[in-house]
């Protein structure tokens, strides 16, 4: 068996590598084992174990529902068939997307630093531990999504439009994975990034229409196109389209899909660029 030469461009110009030119899927075993490690160790030592993955989102929905629905009297959009909306269900639809993004970013951004000693001793691509960590975080989101689906079916808010999830989910996962890989890699070079992300995520939580409907945002205020700005946030696009599919039971518009795909393609391109610019020499930097 001969291992081919892989070429990659680093800061020093063209560098030649002996690294296996094996395709990414040949690392699937390793990625899966990294994911299993994170999944299995997550609730080790807790009394309630995996029950927490249900308790936490349910508690969050209850808290926000009480605050926004009971105290601020926020009006959720009506259900697909025109029945009056349910704030808790509507909120959960947005929260699933948001926590999928923010939890993954928060937990996976430190993965490369955490795997550092191994990366210095043996070669495996730097995306392997990151993708493993993303998978384990997404598992949590999957559980929340299943709860959401069960609730929606129970209240009879189902439709053929749900099938568009088949496209929406992979697009979302690729987007989140790309953003996470970029930030996890740069976190090795600038370790402040992990803290910066925590702050930025708090800001973005309010800049994304999760607890409020986008229609509540004025189109323009003091000459600033506020709503357009908020819609420019890719997370807003993901939340809105996910809500449109599940809560509104309607396929998102072509424009909406185009924006999602554009953001995802951009994130993926940047991730690949990051991998070739920074990810190949990560063993030297940790």
């Amino acid at each position: 068996m001969t291992v081919g030469l892989g070429f990659g461009e680093g800061d020093e110009g063209v560098a030649v590598s002996v690294r296996s030119a094996a395709p990414a899927w040949s690392y699937s075993g390793l990625i899966w084992n990294f994911a299993l490690r994170d999944i299995k160790s997550r609730f080790k030592g807790t009394l309630l174990g995996w029950a927490w993955s249900i308790i936490v989102p349910v508690a969050t929905v209850i808290i926000y529902s009480v605050v926004f629905s009971a105290i601020f009297r926020a009006q959720p959009p009506p259900l697909a068939d025109g029945r009056p909306g349910n704030y808790a269900v509507w909120l959960l639809t947005g929260l699933v997307v948001w926590t999928g993004f923010s939890n993954t970013l928060n937990t996976a951004v430190g993965t490369l630093l955490g795997t550092g000693s191994l990366l210095q001793k043996i070669y495996f691509p730097s995306y392997a531990p990151v993708v493993g960590s993303v998978i384990s975080s997404m598992m949590q989101t999957g559980i929340e999504a299943v709860i959401l689906l069960v609730i929606l079916v129970a209240i009879g808010n189902v439709g053929i439009a749900w099938l568009s999830l088949v496209i929406w989910i992979p697009v979302f996962v690729i987007f989140v994975t790309s953003v996470t890989y970029i930030l996890a890699t740069y976190n090795v070079y600038f370790r402040d990034l992990a803290y910066l992300i925590t702050v930025a995520l708090q800001l973005f939580f309010f800049l994304t229409p999760i607890i409020y409907p986008i229609t509540l945002v004025p189109v323009s205020s003091h000459g600033i196109p506020v709503r357009a700005l908020i819609e420019a946030n890719p997370l807003a696009q993901f939340v809105e389209s996910f809500r449109s599919i599940l809560y509104g039971v309607s396929v998102p518009s072509v424009t909406s899909w185009a924006i999602l795909l554009a953001w995802t393609a951009a994130a993926m391109g940047l991730a690949v660029l990051t991998y070739f610019r920074r990810g190949l020499d990560i063993g030297e930097q940790i």
């Binding site: 030469l5 030649v16 160790s41």
Partner: protein, 423 residues
């Protein structure tokens, strides 16, 4: 040598590291002071070329920072060379620090899966090897408990059991055989022996020259990233030892001054004093590292304040473990007359019987119960490993006789029925 027979080939490989004055990993530094200026370039490898034939064991020797580990990391793909070509024919794996990559909260079984895949085994390979690994580790009872409850011994056993289950075509080992207890080291050597027999190529970095000479067929000697020697392992190691000796000899005057002041435990009446002890080879040039079997002269420089009519000179070789291995003295030649002034006494060893290790040298000048001078820790004789390593502190003189038939045994075998009864 055709390319087919080569497991690993380096072709003018260089690796440069940039040493910035300080690493700007913080965003604040980056913003406040701007992009860090490119620092000094350090060449960890400089146009290094060598080939490792398929199925052989190859050693990398050199002092600290000579580029051995960098070479190994470039071969393993952890570092990318700045220039040059690296060719690796076959699946390469590394013998990791045992237990590196273990997750404390996962069970032994789960850690086997994780570690196996880090070492490049496929899922099926890991599952196939699972029972063997558990069996080898002897941890059946604990295999489904988290490894954080393991004792450090169990940890190492599990790590080792996983490591030996990996059967790579090329194995890279960086200085890990030096760690662990006697039993572990023996197991490690057995494993390496096994791999060699089955045709694996082994790349080895170790500071233990004895190990290098023992295990390696060929070796490369790296010095500041450049290849200084390449070829037969024994020859390369000898050249390397010679160069270390030379360098240490050049640095010796300073060292002597220091040790002279630090000689502890000197006692005696002081009419004569042994000031310095040095070691010399056949040509009389000073050496600080010797090999077993080598001719060594121990030179004692003394100063006598007055003439001494009867004196016996003695030496003590104390192994680092505290055992006095030998104590040659001049008593059998009768007492010597030592004239006043400075002089030299020599003890010539035609063939050093000491085994590899550090030996503290003690000197004494006595006369029937009276001690003129007695000093511990006069000098340290460093004996480096050589190919024919044997256990023990000294090499016993003697000759082995090859196997030959035993006349008594021959008498037994001539009775077939008697043999039948025995079996």
């Amino acid at each position: 040598m055709s390319r087919q027979d080569v497991a690993v080939a380096l072709d003018d490989v260089s690796k440069r590291f940039m040493l910035s004055q300080e690493r700007r990993t913080g965003l604040k530094e980056r913003v406040v002071r701007g992009k860090s200026r490119p620092g000094k370039a350090v060449w960890a490898l400089k146009d290094a070329s060598f080939e490792v034939p398929q199925g052989t064991t190859f050693g990398l020797v050199g002092h600290n920072g000579s580029g051995k580990s960098t070479a190994l990391k470039v071969i393993s793909g952890i570092y990318r060379p700045t220039s040059g070509d690296v060719t690796v024919n076959g699946r390469l794996s590394a013998l990791l620090e045992l237990g590196a990559g273990f997750h404390p909260d996962l069970s032994g079984r789960e850690n086997i899966r994780l570690n196996g895949s880090i070492l490049g085994m496929s899922r099926r390979e890991v599952e196939d090897a699972m029972d063997g690994i558990i069996d080898f580790s002897g941890l059946e009872e604990f295999i489904d408990s988290p490894v954080k409850i393991y004792s450090s011994g169990m940890y190492v056993r599990l790590g080792f059991a996983i490591a030996v289950s990996v059967r790579p075509e090329i194995l890279a080992i960086d200085e890990i055989i030096a760690v662990g207890d006697e039993e572990f080291q023996r197991k490690c050597f057995d494993h390496l022996h096994d791999l060699r027999r089955t045709g694996s190529t082994i790349l080895l970095v170790s500071h233990s020259l004895g190990i290098m000479e023992d295990l390696c067929d060929t070796a490369v000697w790296l010095d500041h990233g450049e290849v200084r020697g390449l070829g037969d392992a024994r020859g390369v190691v000898r050249d390397y030892v010679a160069s270390v000796n030379q360098r240490e000899a050049a640095a010796a005057p300073l060292e002597d001054r220091e040790t002279a002041e630090h000689v502890a435990d000197r006692h005696g009446s002081g009419e004569v004093r042994v000031d310095r002890v040095t070691f010399h080879d056949n040509d009389g040039s000073p050496v600080s590292i010797v090999l077993p079997g080598q001719a060594v002269t121990v030179r004692l420089r003394y100063t006598a304040r007055t003439q001494i009519d009867a004196a016996v000179f003695g030496l003590g070789f104390v192994h680092e473990s505290g055992v006095t291995v030998a104590g040659p003295n001049s008593a059998q030649l009768g007492p010597w007359v030592v004239p006043a002034g400075a002089g030299v006494v020599e003890f010539r060893i035609p063939e050093l019987t000491l085994q590899p290790g550090m030996f503290m040298v003690r000197t004494a000048v006595v006369d029937r119960g009276h001690t003129y001078d007695h000093a511990d820790n006069q000098a340290t004789l460093k004996v480096r490993g050589s190919g024919e390593a044997e256990p023990g502190l000294v090499r016993m003189a003697g000759q082995w006789q090859p196997p030959r038939p035993d006349p008594r045994a021959a008498a037994v075998t001539s009775y077939p029925e008697a043999r039948g009864v025995q079996s």
